[in-house]
Symmetry: C2
Amino acid sequence: MKIDFDKSGGLVPAIVQDSATLEVLMVAFMNEEAWRKTVESGFATFWSRSRGKLWLKGETSGHKLVVKEILTDCDQDAILLKVEAVGPGVCHEGYRSCFFRTLDGNDWKVTGVRGFNPDEVYAKGRAE
Amino acid sequence: MKIDFDKSGGLVPAIVQDSATLEVLMVAFMNEEAWRKTVESGFATFWSRSRGKLWLKGETSGHKLVVKEILTDCDQDAILLKVEAVGPGVCHEGYRSCFFRTLDGNDWKVTGVRGFNPDEVYAKGRAE
């Protein structure tokens, strides 16, 4: 179950897709440790580039991602996780998917579904 | 329609999803020029990290990706293209999706659908 982490400095993109609706929920990066944790625990775990540390998705919000299926691509340098999302949304802005903006002419238009109020969920001031 | 290209050295991940079936077909990277070409031309264009140049997907195989919808995420540092794939597959190995391997225990198992014979399509010896 080798993944090629060398191509881009130890990180590979990991796409998260809802296993039931097939909606793409987010994309993040994994290093080798995040990858191992994800496989071992069954919960999506990433490398946070902004915080410079391992990031168990949902550790603050409780909105964990239960891994149902793991795929890799032809070059084995990208990962696709099919998940069941625990909670009403994966985005720290409260949307079901992080991809809540659609290009409309020259502007981005909000087209995503709001699942929760981030001010309530991230009351301690820590976003993820 | 600003995208944040600064976060990871000028490149952002671009996920390609079939607009009809919602199957994730591939992920690649875009720099600002690839992004602009994609928006202007309506055909998915990436930055090839291995070849170090702009890459109009399908320039060799003819299997172009017609962009139907463009989304971005909360941080505007990732792109989701919903496309209609021209041709029987996007993967240079002949599969409909580059994500043709699924983790099964400790091994990768081929679970994808083969759409064409790459030896015939890439007869000139140039894969993409």
